[in-house]
Amino acid sequence: MSLTLEQVQRIAHLARIEISESEARTTQSHLNGIFQLIEQMQAVDTRGVEPMAHAQELSQRLRPDAVTEENRRAAFQAVAPETEAGLYLVPKVIE
C-alpha cells in the first residue's frame, strides 16, 4: 500500500490540521515508511481471533445520578484563549 499526496491532504483535512504541499510531500514519505512496517500485520491469519480493545476485560461502571462536581467555571475558563460573560468565543458560524 502506498498513500498518494491527495490522500495525505484528505487525511490532514479530516484531522483538521492545515498542511502545505511541501509538508504533505514530506509527510507522505514518512507515512509510507511507517505503513510499510504496519503492513507486516497483513500476512497474519487472524480469522476467528476476537479483537482485543483493552488490557482488562472491563465493563463501564455506572455511578448514582447525583451532582458530585462543584461549579468551577471561572477557574476552567481562565485557561481559555477567549471568553466573554462565561462563554467561549469562536468565529461566527451562522451569518
Binding site: R16, I17, E18, I34, L37, Q40, M41, A78, V79
Partner: protein
C-alpha cells in the same frame, strides 16, 4: 544526602538531621546549577516547592508524617498539577496552568506529603523514544551529554540520574518509563494497566497509558508505588482491588524462581554489548537460586506494527480535544471556525504528533478500519495470549529493555521507523497490559544497559522483589554518571 535512598531520606527527616526545606533547597540548587546543561526540567517554581516543604516540616513536627513526607520528587510534565504550568512537552500547552490536580499528584502532595521540585521535560504528548520531539528542546543524557536520555520520560530519567531529584514520576505507553530508565541507569516500573489512576494524566493512548515510578533502586520504586496506586472513580478503567504494600516481599529469597527467556528477545537485532550485560545478569540470578527456562513469544515481532496502529488511533481521538477553544494554543490569524481549528492544530502540534494523528485518522477512516484497526486488535490478542502461555512455565520473563544503549542526539530523528524500533522489547508489555521494569545491569561502551523484567498481571511486588535481590548482590544501580558533580 544527594545520593541517599528514599528510606535514608525518610529517616533523616524523621530524626531531624535535615528539614524538608533544607533538603528541597539542596535539590533546587542542583537544578539551578545543572539544568541549563541537561534541560531535564521545563518548569521550576522554587517558592511553590518550598511552601510544600514547609507544610511537610510542620507535619513532621506534629507527628503526622507518612514515610515519604517532605521528600522531594520530580513530576513528568504530563501530570496536571494545580497552579503549575503543565505543558506535556507541547507548544499547544506551553501556557497552560492546570486548574486541577491529577490523582497521582493529589496523592503525592496530599496524603503522602511529598514536595514537587518541578515539571520534567518529555517528548511531545509522550510520543517519542529520545525526548527530541519536545517543544522545549531535547534533554541530554547525564552519562554522555551528546546522547539522548531516551523517552518519552527523558527529563525524569535525566533528572534522577544526575541527582537533580531523588526520584521522579514517569508514564509508559510503549516503553516510556523502562527505556529511559535503561538508558540513564535507573530503576523504573510500569505497573499493570489500571493500577495507577490516569485521571489528570494527559491522555496519549488510553488503553495503554500507565504512570509509574522512576528511581535509583527497586526499594525506592516500591515506596513510591505505594503512594501512587489505588482505585479512582474518576478513571473509568481504574481497578478496584485490595490495597497492597509493594515493599512487603522485597527481601524474599529467589530460590526456585523460574525465569523465562523469550527466544525472540535473544536473537539478532540487539547490540552485542547489551546482550552480554543481560546474559551476565541472568547468570547472577542463577547464582541467587533462580533457574532459566526458554519460552517463546511467537507474535512479538508484530507488536511494533500493531502498536503503531492502535496507539495513533487512540491518540487521534484523544488529541481532537485540542481545538483552540477551551484551553491551549490558538493561532493568531484565522478566518472561519474551521480555519481556526486547522491553523491552531497545525501551529500548536509538532511533526511527530501530527504524523501520529494522521496515521490514527487514516486507520480509523471508512474503508480502512477493518484492515488496520481491527487487525491490530486481533494481533493484540495474539500477543497477550503469548504471555499467558509463557507464564505457564515461568514466574518472570527477562530480556533486554532496549536493543541499544543511548544513541546520539539526531541519530534517529530523521527516520521515524528506526526510532519506533527502539521500543521493540517494551511495546508488547503495554499491549498485554502487564507490569514491566527496567533494572540497571551493567555497561556497554561506558553507557548503561537495562535488564527488562516482565511480570504476570498484578505481579508488581514480585518484580520488585526480583529486582531488589539483584540490587543487593550487585552495585550497577549505584553507579553515577562520572561527569556530573
Amino acid at each position: 544526602m544527594i545520593n541517599a535512598s528514599l528510606k535514608q531520606l525518610s529517616q533523616a527527616l524523621a530524626t531531624k538531621q535535615i528539614s524538608s526545606v533544607e533538603l528541597t533547597r539542596l535539590f533546587l540548587d542542583r537544578i539551578a546549577r545543572l539544568n541549563p546543561m541537561l534541560n531535564a526540567f521545563v518548569t521550576v517554581d522554587a517558592e511553590k516547592s518550598l511552601n510544600s516543604a514547609r507544610t511537610a516540616d510542620a507535619r513532621i513536627a506534629a507527628g503526622t508524617a507518612g514515610p515519604l513526607t517532605g521528600i522531594p520528587i520530580a513530576q513528568k510534565d504530563i501530570f496536571c498539577a494545580e497552579g503549575w504550568r503543565t505543558t506535556c512537552g507541547s507548544k499547544m500547552l506551553a501556557n497552560f496552568v492546570s486548574p486541577y490536580d491529577a490523582t497521582v499528584i493529589r496523592k503525592m502532595h496530599g496524603e503522602a506529603g511529598m514536595v514537587s521540585l518541578g515539571k520534567t521535560n518529555m517528548d511531545e504528548f509522550a510520543m517519542g523514544s529520545s525526548n527530541e520531539t519536545s517543544f522545549f528542546g531535547p534533554v541530554r543524557n547525564p552519562w554522555d551529554t551528546e546522547r539522548v536520555p531516551g523517552g518519552s520520560s527523558g527529563g525524569s530519567a535525566a533528572a534522577v540520574a544526575a541527582r537533580l531529584a531523588p526520584a521522579a514520576t514517569g508514564t509508559d505507553t510503549g516503553g516510556s518509563i523502562r527505556q529511559p530508565a535503561a538508558l540513564c541507569n535507573l530503576t523504573g516500573l510500569k505497573p499493570t494497566y489500571g493500577v495507577v489512576s490516569r485521571y489528570g494524566m494527559i491522555a496519549f493512548a488510553s488503553s495503554l497509558d500507565q504512570g509509574g515510578p522512576m528511581a535509583a533502586s527497586a526499594e525506592d520504586c516500591a515506596l513510591l508505588l505505594n503512594t501512587m496506586v489505588g482505585f479512582d472513580e474518576r478513571d473509568s478503567t481504574s481497578l478496584d482491588r485490595p490495597v497492597e504494600d509493594y515493599a512487603r516481599d522485597l527481601d524474599k529469597p529467589l530460590a526456585g524462581l523460574r525465569i523465562g527467556l523469550p527466544r525472540e528477545f535473544f536473537g539478532e537485532g540487539c547490540d552485542a554489548g547489551v546482550m552480554a550485560a543481560v546474559r551476565a545478569a541472568i547468570a547472577e540470578y542463577e547464582k541467587l537460586g533462580a533457574t532459566a527456562v526458554e519460552v517463546s513469544l511467537p507474535n512479538s515481532h508484530l507488536s511494533v506494527p500493531a502498536y503503531y496502529v492502535i496507539a495513533p488511533a487512540e491518540a487521534s481521538s484523544n488529541l481532537s480535544r485540542f481545538d483552540g477553544v477551551r484551553y491551549g494554543f490558538r493561532a493568531d490569524d484565522y478566518g472561519s471556525l474551521d480555519d481556526m481549528y486547522m491553523k491552531s492544530r497545525a501551529q500548536g502540534f509538532g511533526a511527530e504528533v501530527k504524523r501520529r494523528i494522521l496515521i490514527g485518522t487514516y486507520v480509523l477512516s471508512h474503508g480502512y478500519y477493518d484492515a488496520y484497526y481491527l487487525q491490530a486488535q486481533r494481533i493484540r490478542r495474539l500477543i497477550a495470549g503469548d504471555f499467558v502461555e509463557a507464564f505457564k512455565s515461568c514466574d518472570v520473563i527477562m530480556g533486554p529493555t532496549s536493543p541499544s544503549t543511548a544513541f546520539k542526539l539526531g541519530e534517529k530523528a530523521a527516520d521515524p521507523v528506526q526510532m519506533y524500533l527502539s521500543d521493540i522489547y517494551t511495546i508488547a508489555v503495554n499491549l498485554a497490559g502487564l507490569p514491566g521494569m527496567s533494572v540497571p545491569c551493567g555497561f556497554a561502551g561506558g553507557l548503561p544497559v537495562g535488564l527488562q523484567l516482565i511480570g504476570n498481571y498484578f505481579g508488581e511486588a514480585q518484580l520488585l522483589n526480583v529486582a531488589h535481590r539483584y540490587q543487593q548482590a550487585t552495585d550497577w544501580h549505584q553507579r553515577r554518571p562520572p561527569g556530573i558533580a
